[in-house]
Symmetry: D4
Subunit: 162 residues, 8 copies
């Protein structure tokens, strides 16, 4: 997700309302949403399809990893050679357990979230997949042990009258 981005994006008022509704409840029915937004179900369906195709939104079931058998969740900060930025990101994207990859600027150059069933698989990925990527100069791990809050309904920064 968020891999191939359509450059020319504009959210109109209706898109904006749909996004916010899905952030609150990803399984809201097309009919209910249409009624709520005073439009037709087929319009809603088309809009969601387009927003999804544009990689602007993805409706997914998010689970608490610790409650569903994934015992190791870590943020890994990488220091890299910026001349190899794109190649490094491509290789990281190919590692399924690297669930989140973001460019940063500070103590780390790249920030990754890795989720695995246990420490054993985690270390294999660090040692044999991430640590050996050409241009990765060092890596630092922050282990998480408990998730207290995880929400996705932050809305959008688009200012439209509601």
């Amino acid at each position: 997700m968020f891999g191939e981005i359509s450059e020319d994006l504009t959210l109109d008022e209706l898109d904006n309302q749909i996004v916010k509704a899905l952030q609150r409840d990803g399984r809201v029915s097309y009919t209910d949403l249409a009624e709520q937004l005073e439009t037709t179900a087929s319009t809603v369906r088309n809009r969601i399809q387009r927003l999804t195709d544009q990689n602007l939104i993805k409706v997914v079931g998010v689970v608490n990893p610790f409650m569903t058998g994934m015992g190791t969740v870590a943020f890994v900060g990488l220091s890299i050679d910026f001349n190899q930025y794109d190649a490094i990101v491509e290789k990281l994207k190919g590692i399924p357990e690297a669930r989140f990859i973001a460019g940063s600027s500070g103590q780390y150059d790249l920030f990754i979230q890795v989720i695995t069933p246990s420490n054993t698989e985690f270390y294999d990925i660090i040692r044999q997949q991430i640590g050996v990527i050409d241009g990765v100069k060092s890596l630092d791990t922050h282990m998480l042990f408990e998730i207290h809050k995880q929400t996705y309904d932050w809305g959008t920064g688009v200012n439209v009258s509601e």
Copy 2:
């Protein structure tokens, strides 16, 4: 989400398959899912309701904040007085812009993700809401500038024959 957790959780084979299906596509219809899992739509609907009620899964629309008008995304690491752990977490949970809160052990004791429209709102939250919480000894910010990958289909660590 993930606030009130039902202690006594057991995922059976069907729960497990439903979770994985929703991780891939949160809007899959009950009918399609039932067909795929060789059960009835009402069973699927009931199971999803139960999994959701148990705070085990939440189906949400996830957006790329940078593509929808949120300009500031940061990970904030806190060093805290462990004697005030619970009270600090409660206060953090009450800050809407604190989207993710997790217990860590290393350079930081708590890891938070904050998402705001711009640096101005971000700093207000740091300075007036997080920094002043009793028991927060120091905080360190890692600004993110670009999200390269964000996926949620990590499955479960439950070993069941498929």
Copy 3:
């Protein structure tokens, strides 16, 4: 400067042009500027007066400290108790040698630039004025030894057609 800020600021096209002109040359005459912007000298004078009164711009002679007898230039990063933020900033503002004070978020909470004739005066300020402020938890010094570039004509972020 930048102490008392008029809340309700709006830069129109003319303000914007005047600001940019002064960023390039702070001593441009009212007449030349008026001619250049196709308005009157008294309008330009009034506008500059208003921009200055609003603490939006200050026209000053900037010198390279190392070339004019100031031997010690340092950035000092402070970690502070956020509950005492305002009082700490007030005390720092009262130290003349603290030339620049800004709120940060990361390794340091406040960033200060201190300029003195020599290391002796610098340390007196650190030890007897900054280090002892109530709520300052620690301070870290980055000494500068040579200034390679210092410019002020960054324009404004205001988008107006020129």
Copy 4:
């Protein structure tokens, strides 16, 4: 500014007074300044011209970036290969958004201030312009969010009787 420096600089008493007057008010008129310093306006004008030509002073309009539409202000600390010091500084000087460049010795080898309209432009500069310079080994960013004080009237370290 401060690019080409005339080696053989000596500030006499009059230069010294002129510098201090301009540090307080960069738009003081030649006539007022002459009267104040008991000399002629043409002498003052010549002296200011000479001080400016020698890169000793520059009179500029300084604005608070956050109040004029520049949303991202950061100090960036670089660790570099000292064997490439001059080439690195030259490349940095060619980046307009790098407003301040100084040699340091401590946690960082070079200290840069970068000012841009938003985080997006900032990261482009970090990732595509600064991070990729040959000999830059690592970089660390300190974001500023609010400027509490910014003054330029630090006088000179020259001891002359006033």
Copy 5:
């Protein structure tokens, strides 16, 4: 072990040989050891008893935690208030999972090794037992993931002719 130490310790040549033999093989029989050291089995037995009573040696079965079901092995570095050193050490000694406790001087004041079946138990100990000890100012965790070597036959620093 190493809790109550007999102050007045002197290792003679025979003690020294016995220690070294046990470091190599903790289950060597009294008879074999006596023969090897040209003394009697009862002498060897008495000496081992005395060395053990003096807390100078302990013969134990050492297992690789990762191979016997302990999934989490970590070094935890503590920064403490030295005025509470003894009380802190006493409390740490009472935590069974804290397998190794040593006084250090550098980045950390105390160094602890914690071994638990999984990350869950580890974090409980950090958050509810170590982090809350009065006088513990901060803690930092280094997770281990694989043990490549672990030996105990370092001999003694006692110089005796062999």
Copy 6:
């Protein structure tokens, strides 16, 4: 020890009991252990032999280095090139004074414990043996000065009814 590991390990109930007994007392006699576990001494002997051959347990005499003439005990954290991980570990294993070697992920990539009679020998090893290994990028030393607790009876993570 722990060098060559038999892949296919399964601890049954009896193995488990034997391991725990040896963790408590490495010199327990075969007869006593057999009686305690309601089996024969030869069974116990065979099992211990097998557990030892599989590198699952090693019975050794553990001494407090500071009490037996070893004056310098240090943890050394290495940052390495992960592409040379195996070769680096092999070289470290060949240094007798490197008593413990483990893979980590965080501030350090490898964690080593070094024990020597005095600082002189310690530094020789750092400077002439560890520091010069190809692929070792940096090393950091944590000196220990006093051991307060060192235990080995952590049992196993194997869940068997006792």
Copy 7:
């Protein structure tokens, strides 16, 4: 030494020459020095007495600690409460093994050199004398293992024609 300083110090040309001569050879005879500086031995003797009384110079035998039986040499960096600066320095001055004490500004606030026969005495001083001083917030140790150069003939910064 350097404890009570006479405020009103002025080095004339002769003082300056004497200081430089003693920096090169502390045992040069009064007669040789007088001849060399074209003055009398009693003048030289009086000047050295005065320079010593003013705590400006002290002639001492400097030994390499590692070559004369002192096995532990360390720099200890302290972070302190600046409000207790003077009291902390006084207490540190009373610790004989603290051979050098200086005010710093950066990672540490005070820099101390400690020299002891072995690690045991060193740690006693850290744990029981320095670490427990009121206002000492943390301490960090840098152990030295070998001295490659130690010179004292840096002359003076006084510009006098020779």
Copy 8:
């Protein structure tokens, strides 16, 4: 000093007493010392000569740099490539302003003290002499601003009855 060391050093009782006397007062006369140690002045003279030739002691005039015109005193910590240790140390020894050079193990690999008249000369040495040495990977500076204590009479670690 301490450059070429005679390997085979043994301090007898008399050497030991002489060293301690010179540590207290480097200008004690041969006669006074002889009387005090119940030997002859020529013996004392010969012994001091031998101790000096062996690079075991050097009698020098030590000045407080800040009181004699040296305005910049800094400790510089280097991270180096250990494979180039000897060459780096040789080059550092050739820099007169590098007054003290020692091998360390921790945050830094080499520790240097640099003393110069002002920050300008200091930075020239950092930038043009130390920073560019082949194998120096990074350097960090700790500026000192005031010396509170500096003593040299630490005696010897040699145990002789007095």
